[in-house]
């Protein structure tokens, strides 16, 4: 098994992107989640006039501000990498990727930057309702930023709404709404934003529990838990619902990803979902995809994979071997192509691109339309022309299988935890059950692990593709030296680590100070 090749620019570029995206995703979910929670608290304050809610909103606003200030613009590091390490990809995707990112920049800048200033500086300078509107608009701005990023990401998983132009070697957007409203994008948006809400709720629960353990600021902490528990419970339940939707979309659009997530090598009708299992280590060598048993041990939930993936009890779910061999009937009634057939079509598309350019250079304009037609006819399999062996289409099965289960297990764990906390809080017995406060506090890392696991499932599961079926990662990268990618890797790692240390230390200091007595003139910052 070749996990990482230290002399490979592709592997270093992927690791660099994964590392920076992972760090970035430590900041983003808390921004998304805390934004809603502080907005709800301020809404209660405006409706009831109870200043304790204002005090609570201001405290979480302060924590939000620390996270926002330190996390802001860290996503731009990812955009730097598109231009530096992934220049072929960046050019090839053209305005499809650029447009959502540009909209995100504009939305983020105008909405968040404008209203965040009113949110922090505008207490008692604008009316209560105007301030509340500013707070909610900051929340909306943060959420819309996520929307455009996730639309861009969803297009990489399910490329639609574009047409390839052999003249410019770029994909050109022909249907903006098909891209923006693709079912993959919609599901990804809700699933991801909800995971941010859940992280925010887990954070509020953990910090509030700390206050209760320390027997400090009890009224504030109980109020925070009241909001956090119900918000967290709703978020996690909705994550499960949208997770099911994501599973359906993945099965429809990226069957190899779901087969890898399930360790499903041999397809079957009425396929079960593996609840617990231990994969056969011999299968980690991808060339063994057609040999030996997939599992040493497993417990399945019968039929559930067929139901999730195809909404039918006995639907056929193709395994890794089926997807490589082809020949099974797809949902639309057509027969699935084998890897070899896709490879032939991919090579035809690449050859047509080459011929198009030669004909253009030699002035044989009458032949251009024919080459373009061949290219576009086979473009859906363009990326297969860069692959040699069928096993290259298989993502890292053990990583996906176990990471997916970690994510799901944490999700259900938190549903239970929030339900218990909500119950105790409702019965006013939370302070009598200190064990649940300790559990709530020490569970916080799990919320972050679940978020990271989700991205691993999504992005590792897309491999070997940068753009599903159209462009593999090895054709996407720039012709760089390994040393230069390693250097930027180290620089980004240092930068993000310093920022994270700063974030944690400033936050801990402010949390220890606790919510301040409300003074109308006292600024949050």
């Amino acid at each position: 098994m070749d996990l990482f090749n230290f002399s490979s620019v592709v592997d270093w570029s992927r690791l660099q992107f994964a590392m920076t995206a992972g760090y970035h995703w430590l900041f983003v979910p808390l921004t998304l989640g805390l934004a809603v929670i502080m907005s709800i608290m301020e809404t209660i304050y405006v409706r009831t006039g109870n200043v304790e809610w204002k005090r609570a909103a201001k405290f979480w606003m302060k924590i939000f501000g620390i996270n926002f200030a330190i996390g802001v613009a860290t996503g731009i590091i990812l955009e730097f990498q598109f231009g530096t390490n992934w220049s072929n990809y960046s050019w090839f995707v053209g305005d499809i990727f650029g447009a959502p990112l540009a909209i995100e920049g504009i939305v983020a800048f105008f909405l968040e930057a404008t209203f965040i200033s009113i949110m922090f500086f505008g207490w008692n300078k604008v009316s209560r309702k105007a301030h509340l509107a500013a707070t909610w608009l900051v929340t909306l701005g943060a959420t819309l930023s996520a929307l455009w990023i996730l639309i861009a990401n969803a297009w990489m998983q399910y490329p639609i709404g574009m047409e390839f132009n052999p003249e410019t070697v770029r994909n050109e957007m022909v249907d903006f709404w098909a891209i923006a409203l693709s079912p993959v994008a919609i599901n990804k948006f809700f699933h991801t934003v909800l995971s941010g809400w859940a992280t925010g709720a887990a954070f509020v629960l953990a910090i509030s529990s700390w206050f209760l353990i320390k027997k400090r600021n009890q009224d504030f902490a109980l109020k925070s838990i009241r909001i956090g528990a119900i918000f967290g419970l709703i978020s996690f339940v909705l994550i499960a619902v949208t997770g099911d939707g994501s599973g359906y979309e993945v099965a429809q659009k990226q069957p190899m990803k779901i087969a890898a997530m399930e360790g499903l090598y041999e397809g079957k009708e009425g396929a079960g979902l593996v609840a617990i299992g231990v994969l056969n280590p011999a299968k980690a060598d991808k060339s063994n995809y057609d040999k030996g048993d997939a599992f040493l041990f497993k417990i399945e939930l019968p039929k559930l994979l067929s139901i999730m993936g195809y909404r039918q009890l006995n639907a056929f779910v193709p395994g890794i071997r089926d997807i490589i061999d082809g020949g099974y009937t797809l949902q639309d009634g057509t027969i699935a192509l084998s890897f070899e057939e896709k490879k032939v079509r991919g090579e035809k598309a690449i050859e047509a691109l080459a011929n198009y350019q030669v004909a253009k250079t030699e002035g044989r304009d009458d032949e251009l339309a024919g080459f373009e037609a061949t290219l576009l006819d086979n473009f859906a399999y363009f990326g297969y022309g860069y692959l040699d062996k069928p096993e290259q289409t298989i993502p890292n099965v053990p990583l996906l299988f176990y990471t997916f289960r970690v994510m799901v297990a944490i999700g259900f764990y938190y549903i239970l935890l929030f339900a218990i906390v909500w119950f105790f809080n409702r019965k006013k017995t939370l302070l009598d059950n200190r064990w649940i406060l300790y559990v709530s506090l020490w569970s916080l890392p799990l919320a972050y692990i679940a978020g990271q696991a989700g991205w691993i499932v999504s992005e590792v599961g897309r491999q070997p593709w940068a753009i599903q079926d159209i462009l593999p990662v090895q054709a996407s990268i720039s012709s760089l030296e390994v040393g230069s990618v390693m250097t930027t890797f180290m620089l980004f790692l240092i930068m993000f680590t310093v920022l994270l240390i700063a974030e944690v230390s400033i936050m801990v200091k402010q949390i220890k100070k606790g919510p301040e007595e409300d003074s109308d003139d006292k600024p949050v910052y």
Partner: protein, 74 residues
């Protein structure tokens, strides 16, 4: 609680916001500014320039390069 009746002044809000800023606010602004300077004046131009922009001047040359890469990539 006294509600402010004076007309909202955008400039005044910013001015008072910045001049009355707490130590925490100042610390965060310093972090943001240092981070942005490091990202846009050191990381981006020196270590992470746009590959195609650095090597080619116009869109046609960039397209030719990417086409060649896509056709020749192993």
């Amino acid at each position: 609680m006294t509600a402010t009746k004076t007309k909202f002044n955008w400039f005044k809000m910013f001015w008072e916001g910045f001049t009355n800023m707490t130590t925490l606010g100042k610390t965060l602004w310093i972090i943001v500014i240092i981070k942005l300077i490091f990202m846009f004046f050191i990381l981006k131009p020196i270590f992470s320039p746009n590959y195609l922009n650095k090597k080619f001047d116009n869109a046609e040359d960039k397209a030719d390069h990417v086409r060649k890469e896509l056709i020749d990539k192993p």
